[in-house]
């Protein structure tokens, strides 16, 4: 196997919003490389639809403190409040900066950036829904990704496209670089680099029905977890209320922000019962739980009573085509329904990981629940957990998270590189990766241990046992299933033995990461004996601030056993109270 060595000061893994924003910050100050398993413009930031919140006050009075209040309340008080303050305060400059770089935001007649309503965002701490989400029709993520990539092109950032990073080298607690596999050739590349940032996105592909891209397999968190490093708040996984029935394709919350209504089989606007004041614009955890409850109680629509209806018909053609053109297209393409005249069948879809690689507000990665920092390693975006989303993220705050904390992580890389000198990566640094790939290529293929079979079992069982509603029983059952799948995955084989675009080999590696994500999720969920945000334990239906106003830190030891420890939430001006909307 050919091994090629490169030397950089900093390496960013992942070229979605967080990675590209960090690259813009760090690029001018160091010899930097961005490594992505996709072409950067394929990253899943591009699929985000509805908007990015910032208290610009372009439509009505607003201030970032109200945004912070909503974010903390939305998080079910698990978010770290100092971090939330940073997110909401820096939101304003972040949006303006994107506009300056050319982002084509939708505009008000005054020429200012347009803002729309979104779930859980209110004025004056819950008084009424707020016009806070800045948007570009319903393709805001696409525009953010394009704009950041364009900026990188203008700056001449160095990209390694379609390279899969397989290993990070850490020696005596200090980062030395990463080892990657070039997908188009099968060559191995060593990137000697003292600063490494993970911006690898989420891991929704551990579930069967998901809004996530095929590529979202938890590669960054997986790599660190396999090295014994912790993952934070993994039990908090967001189900977006409105995925297209069966397919899980996202239909933006902007649909409800613009006035769309959820109805059950009787045509009832059921959210009036669950969130009397803001109704369909309640936070996602509540709306998803409400939908799941309606379906359980037999109020679901359709022949199997297993979905609800998203009704946009009263909005009129003009609003739908101007504000929600893309999701209208998706519905026409995939379900052959005309949203202007007919309601759309929807069900909750696995969407967003609140948890991930634990970091501080500067993107520095923690090695334990006590706050020790791993030298030279950074993370931001969905792969990371700062935590600004706590137990439930508000819509629009993820696009904000990637630019605010992407920038901060990039800045930290610059600081680190300027105060340290070059390191030498160990001579044999590619050995583990070479051995792993060689073993997979040499092992005779056995259909019984194919990647797809194991992956399908994982996705189906996670959907049944670790979804919106959870119990001791369902989670214990899932623990056993995952144990069995893990044993099978150790014997995984691939039929493709080639070097060029051996995507089956990549699938095998991604599967390992996904299994890690699933195990950490289930283990953390089993330990959290309360219900908070997106984590609903039917056997512990109440929130328990005495015992669980804490972040979980899951680690895996050499034998594969997962241990969960806890870290106190950093509170601030908002005292936890009952969450009503």
């Amino acid at each position: 196997m050919k091994v090629i060595k490169h030397t950089f000061d900093g390496v960013i893994i992942g070229a979605g919003g967080a990675g590209l924003r960090a690259a813009i910050e760090a690029g001018p100050h160091m010899n930097l490389a961005v490594i992505s398993k996709l072409y950067p413009t394929r990253s899943h930031t591009g699929a985000a639809q509805g908007g990015m919140s910032a208290a610009l006050a372009n439509v009505e009075e607003d201030n970032w403190n109200w945004h912070a209040f909503d974010t903390v309340k939305g998080s079910d008080y698990l978010a770290d409040q100092p971090a939330v303050d940073i997110l909401c305060k820096e939101a304003i400059d972040s949006v303006v900066e994107l506009e300056h770089w050319g982002l084509p935001f939708s505009r008000l007649d005054s020429g200012k950036i347009a803002q729309r309503r979104f779930g859980g965002h209110t004025v004056r701490e819950g008084e009424a829904p707020a016009f806070r989400a800045c948007y570009a029709a319903d393709r805001t993520g696409h525009m953010i990704l394009q704009t950041l990539y364009q900026k990188c092109v203008s700056m001449g950032v160095t990209f390694f496209d379609e390279f899969q990073v397989l290993d990070i080298k850490i020696d005596e607690g200090i980062c030395q670089g990463v080892v990657a596999y070039e997908i188009s050739t099968g060559d191995i590349h060593i990137f000697e680099s003292r600063a490494v940032m993970f911006a690898t996105g989420g891991f929704g592909k551990m579930y069967k029905v998901s809004s996530n891209a095929h590529s979202l397999t938890g590669d960054g968190p997986g790599m660190l977890f396999q090295k014994g490093l912790p993952l934070e708040d993994m039990e908090f996984y967001q189900f977006h209320p409105t995925g297209i029935y069966k397919l899980g394709i996202l239909l933006s919350e902007a649909a409800r922000g613009e006035g769309g209504i959820l109805r059950n089989k009787n045509g009832e606007r059921f959210m009036e019962r669950y969130a009397p004041s803001i109704k369909d614009l309640a936070p996602r955890d509540m709306v998803s739980r409400a939908i799941a409850t309606e379906i359980r109680e037999g109020n679901g629509a359709g022949p199997k009573n297993d979905y609800v209806l998203l009704d946009l018909t009263h909005l009129g053609e003009e609003v739908i085509m101007e504000k929600l053109p893309d999701i209208t297209d998706f519905v026409r393409t995939y379900v052959k329904i005309e949203p202007i005249t007919d309601p759309i069948p929807v069900q909750p879809t696995a969407h967003y990981a609140m948890g991930g690689i634990p970091t501080n507000v500067n993107g520095e990665v923690f090695t334990d629940e006590k706050g020790s920092v791993l030298e030279g390693v950074y993370a931001a975006g969905e792969a990371a957990c700062v935590s600004v989303h706590g137990a439930n993220r508000l819509g629009t705050n993820s696009l904000l998270d990637i630019v605010v904390f992407g920038r901060r992580a990039g800045k930290s890389m610059v600081d680190y590189v300027s105060r340290t000198s070059r390191i030498q990566i160990s001579e044999n640094s590619a050995e583990d990766v070479v051995n792993k790939i060689t073993a997979l290529l040499e092992k005779e293929h056995n259909e019984e241990y194919s990647v797809a079979k194991i992956r399908e079992s994982m996705q189906e069982s996670m959907n049944s046992n670790a979804q919106i509603f959870r119990t001791e029983e369902s989670l214990s059952k899932q623990t056993k299933i995952l144990e069995d799948l893990r044993n099978r995955s150790k014997k995984v084989t691939v039929s493709d033995k080639g070097k060029v675009f051996n995507t089956e080999l990549i699938d095998a590696i991604e599967l390992e990461n996904l299994l890690d994500m699933a195990e950490a999720t289930v283990a953390s969920a089993l330990e959290r004996k309360e219900s908070r945000g997106a984590h609903t334990r039917e056997d512990y239906p109440e929130r328990d601030d005495v015992n669980f106003l804490k972040h979980s830190f899951a680690t895996k030891d050499g034998s594969g056993k997962i241990k969960v420890k806890y870290k106190n939430v950093e509170l601030g001006k908002y005292t936890p109270m009952e969450r009503k909307y």
Partner: protein, 231 residues
């Protein structure tokens, strides 16, 4: 429903002549072509190579020729195409393996049009103003996802890969007509070139190939006009 899927296979690694492989696949009428390819890869032939990511037409990974037409595999449902279904890699870029082509030249050509906002204007600490009408001027071309479906459907591009191609022109349009941009002069100079906008022969293939519904040919015509007006 039972489908017969014919896929044009090739692997640069072996260098053997390309061949048609035939797979019998059980699918639901609402399945996407991408689901069918995934089913083949998962359970029939793990070596089948294709790119995929978002699976709903916004990332631009999976442009390919389906029954003779450039499409995104994730945007076509099996019930919409006649069986047997013929799948080939997009044309005009070098095939690397099966449905995967080398995209490097495509992205290099994109970079030639200076695809970023050029402005010397001091911006201050708030957003620049842009009216909804000014935005509308470019909104269509901002939708481009760089999937290459347009460029690889262009008969001019097939015969001359030095042609900058529709996708690059779409991205040039997005900035040339942006009220905030000041780089049109430079871009128009580049697009005046013999391999620029005027190589377009208005075949309209690009417009019908675009999975985002962009009026590609119209955008190219607007660039041509702008070049004439500015020269």
């Amino acid at each position: 429903m039972e489908l017969e899927i014919r896929i044009l296979r090739y692997n640069i690694e072996t260098g053997n002549k390309s061949r048609w492989d035939i797979f019998q696949v059980e699918a639901l009428p609402d399945d996407r072509i991408l689901d069918v390819l995934q089913e083949i890869k998962s359970h029939k032939d793990g070596s089948l190579a294709f790119r995929k990511s978002c699976a709903h037409g916004v990332c631009g990974s999976d442009a390919m020729i389906i029954n003779g037409k450039n499409e995104l595999a994730c945007q076509v449902l099996v019930k919409e195409v006649s069986n047997p279904i013929k799948i080939e890699p997009i044309r005009g870029l070098p095939v690397v393996k099966d449905l995967i082509v080398d995209m490097n030249d495509f992205f290099e050509s994109y970079k030639k049009v200076l695809p970023y906002l050029i402005s010397e204007e001091s911006t201050g600490d708030r957003e620049r103003l842009q009216s909804p009408q000014e935005l509308e001027r470019i909104e269509d071309t901002t939708k481009c996802i760089l999937c290459a479906a347009c460029t690889t459907s262009c008969p001019v591009f097939w015969t001359s890969d030095s042609f900058i191609g529709p996708a690059s022109l779409v991205n040039a349009h997005r900035f040339i007509f942006d009220s905030r941009d000041q780089g049109s002069k430079q871009r128009l100079e580049i697009l005046k070139d013999v391999n620029g906008a005027f190589r377009c022969r208005t075949a309209f293939n690009c417009t019908s190939a675009c999975p985002r519904g962009i009026s590609v040919t119209k955008a190219i015509e607007e660039i041509k006009k702008e070049i004439v007006l500015n020269s």
